[in-house]
């Protein structure tokens, strides 16, 4: 199996370089979960529901 990144840093070695922001994002599953829920909720569901609610009711 490809576990290259799993074993990329030895256990007793602390990396001295700061972790890039993008990698911090990709390494945080709960932040990704928030983004993955928020984006389609706003762009698809909320926007779509607002358009449907805004349809004038026939008289």
């Amino acid at each position: 199996m490809d576990t290259a990144s799993t074993d990329s840093t030895p256990a007793n070695e602390v990396p001295d370089e700061p972790i890039p922001a993008m990698q911090q994002l990709l390494d945080n599953p709960f932040l990704l979960l928030f983004l993955g829920i928020a984006m389609p909720t706003v762009l698809y569901i909320v926007w779509g529901v607002m358009e449907i609610v805004g349809i004038p009711i026939a008289k």
């Binding site: 199996m1 490809d2 576990t3 290259a4 990144s5 799993t6 074993d7 990329s8 840093t9 030895p10 256990a11 993008m22 990698q23 994002l25 990709l26 390494d27 599953p29 709960f30 990704l32 979960l33 983004l35 993955g36 829920i37 984006m39 389609p40 909720t41 762009l43 698809y44 569901i45 926007w47 779509g48 529901v49 358009e51 449907i52 349809i55």
Partner: protein, 576 residues
């Protein structure tokens, strides 16, 4: 409460299995295969009914079985298998104990009860509402209740998966970032959580409507929110089967992704934009503006399409690099000619990749274009498209993974290895023909979901169908469909036979070993395939020139098909 920290190490792969996770993976995989068996039997009957010359079932049975087939295949088979994949990617790949096994079992049994309740509701005969169950067409309350119970169970499983990631991090069972395959599984789990939440938003009120507690559900509102569940559930599959592609490339070839950063960014684009494609299904609906439709069906300006193309390039690219480093470096395609085509894990994965890209991907983007969608909306083209994505793409990838899991997870030798070599070809080629002929008939206007495409005996009866071409397409579709079901039956025979009757793999020192510090034991270090791609492989400055050529062929096909459809639109919709 005592935490079970018992692990076993597979002697042939070096993978570590946490005892409760292993049992859950097996049970979920078995439940998946049982769902596939039911859905497959129904598929044969449905194909023999849609084939106009045979027309096997009466209309009420056709609609009943089509409903059950859709749910058993698109929901139960796929999601049970995906839960097994999630546990594998978290617990096994991170060598970590599964978080909250009791909750995981509760989720599993809820899914089982939900699937049974839903199937019983359908087979009672008063819930033939299709997979989509559009209101105001009502089903028995048990139909919705079953789906809700299943969804709650799957949601619990997703949180157990996320909990396992947290456990792995806190118990330091890995360092740095999670493996790419696990990252793909995280993507699938995130899309699953959005999907299930959307299902709950719409199915709970629909259940209350079915029992009379709510008086009215707006049909457009239902369709809009329901598709956030219905289509996104298929996007879980995309993320899951792409992860399986990477896994099989690593298992069979020791292939390392060409660029971890690029592949992970592509998965991020899935997380952000893939679910938006649900709007495809509403392109012909009044009430929603073109702004909403175009933005959403473009997967947010095609960024999620770009992500699929990245995966479609990097998976074969990684295989090509691995093969070239093994010495298969001549010309453009020696690496592909010398690939292990007799290994069903590889052949299933490669056919899945090609079928998903060329048939499912190109047709999906075409369908998502608002104007072009008018040509094929609600025609049999649509199931042609999703049989290419879900059946060739996802199901075939899962079949390939099964051939790897039977020896390592179930500790059984594969029965009928000769048949297993042929199975991906029979299933993949049958399903490719099935999808193509469906899309061909749909392009001619044949409607989806209809028992009789001639509408015989009705005021608007029609049997012209382009001078009989559509009849031919439908017949060819049915023959290919039957071939695919033969491939499906071969898979079921091999897997069920191997798991229950296969020769047990002898492991003299087999034992579950208690891990004291939370990290599973390893029998041997997990091999890292290649640390860097060599500079002495490939041609003309490309490390993977064959993949580059394949990508160009794909792009050319994409562009040609896209513009052919614009030309076709101009002929069916004259402006003068």
């Amino acid at each position: 409460m005592a935490v079970n920290r018992n692990f076993r190490v597979c002697p042939s792969t070096g993978l570590s299995y946490h005892e409760p996770a292993e049992k859950l993976m097996r049970w979920n995989a078995v439940a998946a295969v049982v769902s596939l068996l039911v859905g497959g039997v129904l598929a044969v009957l449905i194909v023999l009914t849609r084939w106009q010359a045979v027309h096997l079932l009466p209309p009420d049975w056709f609609y009943l079985l089509l409903t059950a087939h859709g749910l058993d295949m698109l929901v139960f088979w796929i999601i049970f298998f995906e839960i097994a994949v999630l546990y594998f990617c978290a617990s096994t790949l991170l060598r970590c104990r599964l978080a909250a096994p009791n909750w995981a079992w509760a989720g599993f049994w809820l899914m089982i009860v939900g699937a049974l309740v839903n199937n019983v509701a359908v087979f009672r005969g008063d819930s033939s509402v299709m997979f989509t169950s559009y209101v105001p067409m009502g089903a028995h309350p048990a139909f919705y209740l079953g789906l809700i119970l299943f969804a709650v169970g799957a949601l619990i499983a997703c949180f157990v998966f996320l909990g396992t990631l947290a456990v792995a991090k806190s118990e330091k069972t890995y360092h740095g970032s999670v493996p790419l395959v696990t990252f793909g599984a995280i993507t699938a789990a995130i899309i699953a959580i959005f999907t299930i939440a959307s299902g709950a938003i719409i199915l709970i009120p629909t259940f209350l409507w079915s029992v009379g507690l709510i008086g009215h559900i707006d049909s457009l509102m239902y369709r809009t929110v329901w598709w956030a569940f219905g289509h996104s559930s298929q996007q879980i599959n995309v993320a899951a089967h792409v992860s399986v592609w990477y896994a099989i490339a690593a298992i069979v070839f020791g292939a390392k992704p060409m660029s971890e950063k690029v592949s992970r960014t592509a998965f991020l684009l899935y997380i952000l934009f893939l679910q938006l494609a649900s709007a495809h299904h509403l392109l012909a609906d009044p009430g929603l503006t073109s702004h909403w439709k175009i933005f959403n069906t473009s997967y947010a300006m095609y960024l999620a399409v770009l992500a699929s193309m990245v995966h479609g390039l990097t998976v074969p690219g990684a295989i090509e690099v691995a093969q070239r480093q093994k010495g298969y470096n001549k010309g453009l395609f020696e690496w592909l000619r010398k690939a292990p085509w007799g290994n069903p894990s590889f052949s299933a994965m490669f056919i899945s990749l090609i079928g998903f890209g060329f048939l499912g991907g190109i047709s999906g983007v075409m369908m998502g274009t608002e104007q072009l969608n008018l040509i094929i909306h609600n025609t049999i083209y649509v199931p042609g498209h999703f049989h290419a994505t879900v059946v060739i793409g996802t199901t075939l990838a899962f079949m390939g993974l099964t051939y790897f899991l039977i020896p390592t997870l179930f500790r059984r030798e594969l029965m009928f290895p000769g048949m297993a070599k042929w199975q991906p070809y029979v299933f993949g080629l049958g399903m490719a023909g099935f999808s193509l002929f469906m899309m061909g008939a749909g392009t001619l206007g044949v409607p989806r979901r209809h028992w009789d495409i001639t509408f015989a005996g009705n005021p608007l009866a029609y049997d012209g169908w382009a001078g009989g071409t559509a009849w031919l397409m439908i017949a060819a579709m049915a023959i290919c469909g039957l071939l695919a079901t033969v491939g499906g039956a071969m898979y079921l025979l091999i897997t069920v036979g191997s798991v229950f009757l296969g020769k047990r793999i002898a492991t003299p020192d087999f034992a579950y070993v208690k891990a004291r510090d939370g990290v599973a034991p390893t029998m041997k270090p997990v091999e890292v395939a290649f640390e860097a791609h060599g500079s002495n492989i490939g041609t003309a400055g490309f490390v993977a020139p064959g993949t580059f050529v394949l990508a160009l062929v794909f792009l050319l096909s994409f562009v040609l098909y896209y513009f052919v459809n614009w030309k076709y639109l101009s002929t069916v919709w004259p402006l003068s």
